[in-house]
Subunit: 381 residues, 4 copies
Amino acid sequence: MTRRLRLGMVGGGQGAFIGAVHRLAARLDDHYELVAGALSSDPVRAAASAAELRLDPARSYTDYRAMAQAEAARGDGIDVVAIVTPNSLHAPVATAFLEAGIHVICDKPLALSVAEGEALAALAKRQNRVFALTHTYSGYPMVRHARELVAAGEIGDLRYVQVEYLQDWLAEPLEAGGNKQADWRTDPARAGRAGCLGDIGTHAWQLAAFVCGQQPSALAAELNTFVPGRRVDDHVQVWLRYAGGARGALVASQVASGEENRLVLRVYGTRASLVFSQEEPNTLWLTPLGGETQRLTRGRASGDAARHACRVPAGHPEGYLEAFAQIYTDAALQIHAINAGEPLPLATLHLTTVIEGVAGMRFIEAALASHDAGSAWTALG
Amino acid sequence: MTRRLRLGMVGGGQGAFIGAVHRLAARLDDHYELVAGALSSDPVRAAASAAELRLDPARSYTDYRAMAQAEAARGDGIDVVAIVTPNSLHAPVATAFLEAGIHVICDKPLALSVAEGEALAALAKRQNRVFALTHTYSGYPMVRHARELVAAGEIGDLRYVQVEYLQDWLAEPLEAGGNKQADWRTDPARAGRAGCLGDIGTHAWQLAAFVCGQQPSALAAELNTFVPGRRVDDHVQVWLRYAGGARGALVASQVASGEENRLVLRVYGTRASLVFSQEEPNTLWLTPLGGETQRLTRGRASGDAARHACRVPAGHPEGYLEAFAQIYTDAALQIHAINAGEPLPLATLHLTTVIEGVAGMRFIEAALASHDAGSAWTALG
Amino acid sequence: MTRRLRLGMVGGGQGAFIGAVHRLAARLDDHYELVAGALSSDPVRAAASAAELRLDPARSYTDYRAMAQAEAARGDGIDVVAIVTPNSLHAPVATAFLEAGIHVICDKPLALSVAEGEALAALAKRQNRVFALTHTYSGYPMVRHARELVAAGEIGDLRYVQVEYLQDWLAEPLEAGGNKQADWRTDPARAGRAGCLGDIGTHAWQLAAFVCGQQPSALAAELNTFVPGRRVDDHVQVWLRYAGGARGALVASQVASGEENRLVLRVYGTRASLVFSQEEPNTLWLTPLGGETQRLTRGRASGDAARHACRVPAGHPEGYLEAFAQIYTDAALQIHAINAGEPLPLATLHLTTVIEGVAGMRFIEAALASHDAGSAWTALG
Amino acid sequence: MTRRLRLGMVGGGQGAFIGAVHRLAARLDDHYELVAGALSSDPVRAAASAAELRLDPARSYTDYRAMAQAEAARGDGIDVVAIVTPNSLHAPVATAFLEAGIHVICDKPLALSVAEGEALAALAKRQNRVFALTHTYSGYPMVRHARELVAAGEIGDLRYVQVEYLQDWLAEPLEAGGNKQADWRTDPARAGRAGCLGDIGTHAWQLAAFVCGQQPSALAAELNTFVPGRRVDDHVQVWLRYAGGARGALVASQVASGEENRLVLRVYGTRASLVFSQEEPNTLWLTPLGGETQRLTRGRASGDAARHACRVPAGHPEGYLEAFAQIYTDAALQIHAINAGEPLPLATLHLTTVIEGVAGMRFIEAALASHDAGSAWTALG
């Protein structure tokens, strides 16, 4: 077996949600070993967090630039860094590590603008480093199977794409009550101007694009803020147009009372339709025009792409952490291949990277522009 | 028990789909007896259809005007007429029977324009006749229960309404192959300019309005025609704005491969959400913000409005015909009340009438106007 | 169209549940006209019930024997009688009408013993009269489709049959509180010794036999009475053995808290399995060994037997009343054929009759015998 | 944070299924580090397996006795051993490690007989070592929540327990074709006399007991072998009696065509019922008698016991590996507590141990005895 990659983490100190998820995901398939971190800019919290994670105190940093330089200088320095900070720091942190020759695994959305995103993409390319973006939902086996079915022509020509991502955790003004997650995610300085749009709208956008194998060519968007006093949008509706004539509708809401994490994709083509629901991720529904609905299941009724992303047999549910782990695992395979100068095992790799990140930034900018223009149809660059 | 109302029918001869459904619906609760008809303008087909329905040949007509006059002149003439013709005939037929003092039960959409609809509404009022519009889905007990819950404040203030009505029966150009249903429904001369918009878009619109207890104040719409050569829209997307700030999204499609009759309504308020799916109509899902989802069932977990529309106990599914029958039954109750000069039993009546029909016409006209203006936001009159 | 059959009813006066259901079912497809009844043995209640049903007072009886004689003597006498009395009266009433040459539609269970049942079967045969038994659930289109699939060999050789019928309406001692339904159904004098076993156990038994196309050859049974003071069983477990080596399990309970009317059949063969759930009757699930689950739907993915039992297209749910109506309709087709001396349209007829009734009585007697012998395996005659 | 426990493994070499699952589970929550193994008795395979797992070759053994002695003698020897061999080796291997003072985590079923099981229980107690048994399904948060609800009296007094565990992977004679898993699991010498009964019947038994908080007092069982030539049972039906009068039914099958891993538990009490389905483990259904069904979800609508077993928020599905990991995590908490001489954190611990293993052996022996006696009712010791 290949050696474990040495992993560093920026962000993700005590109390953070997504940092812990990254660590679980990195651990599951045993491709990584966490050895360094700039877990917090607060020295006390950084040290406590590092101790809890059994890090060598010498490799616990409070400044990500210092970490990038120090780790790059070590013979046993990190191979790859996981960036789990608020959005505004993604670009500067990623830049520092890429410049130090270190691979990057970064939370989404990629950055604060298309320009920032394109600079990162160019840098990653120049440095020949992997830049994985954790669009978790593309790690689900049945999402990959859906993508494979669409690519194989199973649904025919695309006609209608419906994607919705509904949550309710911001249905009330949590940010006013000191909730740490709500606080930074509704602060334009840290999260960017796009609130719900950037936080989960980009997931919905990416899921649709990932499965359909194409990006829309234009959109019309309407952003809404339902909770009084909130500084960013919390409910977004977007219409989509595709070059081939297909149409789409995307909705993302964080004020949809009663919804936990309802991410549902429905794709209709001339020959068949596909339905995937994130809350029941072991199943994919396929209905041919004029035929009966088939319940495709992870581990049984699926092909190469799905099998690559499975750990246990059909009937033994895999979930969100496994999907997240798959992103890490695919990144590891890519890093090992690049390190070895080998070609990537592309046939079974569906890793989302800085490229998808730039597409997500284009989506955000186009949606904001459309909204500002009274929901006018706006071309995607 | 009150006597059976004498029912006539215009349209609905051999080969028609919806006429047979009306007759099943009229029969179920035993409030009607079919005694006359202008089932077809073709004399041979009219006579054969009448014979099959055991009508007195003397009361089988080929002209609806003649029928209105003859029946009005009889001592045992019809109390009420069911109009099941293509859309373009709704207004002239209804006018003839209302003028003859005969109650009307009419298929939707009401007419071809707001103007036609308003004239019918005025006439019905002047004549003091019932004008029921068969928005079938409002006959489901759990739809009525949803309406009752919203009216009682159970979901709080409305925030987001999502209604989708997806079918696939027009995914291919059936009208080119001689399918009678497809033929008239895609012919602007008989169906009106609105295709899918009028045929099922109005159902989705009405369901949302019925449950929410309010109409949107503005909309933006995009009509699409996916099947080459088709003369009307077959896929429609609409955004909704409500006076109180709520937002909505409506989609109606007849080219959604694999969908039979997917009419789903999701209503999100500040306190709770409701979900109803027409293909599983015995259930209504209620989720309070911060609470667990409750599965409310017809016959058990429901109130007065739903109980009024039930025939058998919980666990014994009722379906589409029962919902349709409920429209007929509520119309019968109203007709008996008007005939008797009694007040209507309003507390348990949720009958859709010409009023909802006019609202539907406003929806159609606004959607067409918005579409023509590049999906611009358009106020509803 | 053939004329409406003249229908009489014994039992089913005011307050009765199943009588009203029979009338709805008889009316739906327009094959019957209710013209006479012995709705109650109480003259006042009989008359009031008859008036409510718009019966000619001259044809409202208080004694079923008098009714049988009088109706047989009339030129326009009833063609067929519906028997909706408590179980103990099924045999005497049916006997009276059969002897008068009148067809019978009877509620289940057929009688109080195998001997009674066999006498009825012999009499019906001798008189050449239809004797339909209202095993409602065999009227569902997808149940008929399941039967057709099994008969066509789609599931291969039968291995395991699981049927459960769970309700909760007798979870508490309703009979002590004056509930009319609970009262007679838990009274051995009127319902027979078998309580839950006879009331719903026979439905489960019949559903399994109907779909599998075979009866078990032996059973072991355990009857339980959970509610203190109850005089009959309210929870029954039965194991089944089939001649070909297949095994089965049946459970019927009326004390299963939270269940409305959960009748679920799962049939496993060497090649595939089938699952039907009465509370979602428009769907049938088929899973081939090694293949994906297919969701077969009423009106779309089904064959001749199912289509024969459908009224409206796929996606427009049909329910319990339609299934019940199908029994009436198939009985009407049979009665017309017999009256006309024509052969029965057997290919699409799946009518349950006195034959299934006798099988049900054998089941009850074997289950009681097994229970009395400490759940010993007991052969079915 | 506490140090990682040093883990050894016996069995689980290349090609084994459950060994890999144990390693994933041990890794997820970061309480363990795999440092030694007797992965195979075949030296070549043992070495290759060890290398693949990055084990120090010096700590790769081919004999479990040698491993127990060597590891016990090291200063950095293993704290705990995972036993993932065929059933016949569980007892001898566990005995060797317990005698060496090493904690044990063992696959189920515990052993080949009650006697073997009791000896293990006595030994573990004498040595004061943890003996965890990996009854995976009791690691699911919603299973623990169900147990907590029952213990709190939410369902009232128990009336009826229905548990089914249906698979189809042995529907054909795989063991004849060289399938390694099928081979040993259908070989009485390695798996014991109980085939399906021991393999998955014990899981079903344990799940019911875990949730209900009580063991049945008697059972009646029927074992069947459907696949010709198979040497053990592949389909088992069991009836259960509880001391308080409750009844139950258990079915386990490995020949149920179309089923992947259908483990469903339904528990009915006097006040409410609970339903859990392993293939959708993030949900638990609770229906009070006379109330509406509530959909309880992992991470939202659950209490302390469930929260203890969760990693990510509601709406982010957790699955089989997380449930398995929970067993490991709870074992780790117990081992740390014992090592520290501290009291166990019992309030949130629901770890299944050798105690449950002995109960499982009693179930197997009673079921075999009942079957041999013609399915006679047999008391549980």
